[in-house]
Amino acid sequence: DQQVKQNSPSLSVQEGRISILNCDYTNSMFDYFLWYKKYPAEGPTFLISISSIKDKNEDGRFTVFLNKSAKHLSLHIVPSQPGDSAVYFCAASARVSGANSKLTFGKGITLSVRP
């Protein structure tokens, strides 16, 4: 059973527009959420994170929103650029429950930004 779900496998947006990538989770123990970006033949690169005590975290063009009651988070990229084209993984960890911050990942969303 998928504890972290990224139900849309792909997203295509025009350069300059907003990209919204969605993620849902089922495990109530998750208290820390991350987004990773992955280019082909490279490992995932950390993008942005959010703790469950917050509902928003912003870093430049990237903002992550967390809705704990809905067990839903989203990544907003504004404005989108062609270099943002990559696979985006949502990940979660249950830090409070133990010292191990192992990550549970979704299947990823392929974002294509059209020039």
Partner: protein
């Protein structure tokens, strides 16, 4: 500074053979993780080291998989009697302490079992 490195980048082997995959974490990082990414899936946790000890090996699929980190730095993932289903990209990540730090990933080793 150097990031996480993994060798080899690609490994092709035959069913039933033994393979070793190596991970060099970022210098000074005490926590090291192995993940496996199958086609069309996200990375799945295999094992976590804190220093030299395997603090959590709950993700290892069966006893054909084993990992070591004898000096608290480099780690080796060992797979015995490989099966075609073991074909995947094996990712290694490290973090400073393993508590609340960001995990930094290597480029992965693509394992193909024929």
């Amino acid at each position: 500074g150097a990031g996480v490195s993994q060798t080899p980048s690609n490994k092709v082997t035959e069913k039933g053979k033994y393979v070793e995959l190596r991970c060099d974490p970022i210098s000074g990082h005490t926590a090291l993780y192995w993940y496996r990414q199958s086609l069309g899936q996200g990375p799945e946790f295999l094992i976590y080291f804190q220093g030299t000890g395997a603090a959590d090996d709950s993700g290892l699929p069966n006893d054909r998989f084993f990992a070591v980190r004898p000096e608290g730095s480099v780690s080796t993932l060992k797979i015995q009697r490989t099966e075609r289903g073991d074909s995947a990209v094996y990712l290694c990540a490290s973090s400073l302490t393993g508590q609340t730090d960001t995990q930094y990933f290597g480029p992965g080793t693509r394992l193909t079992v024929l």
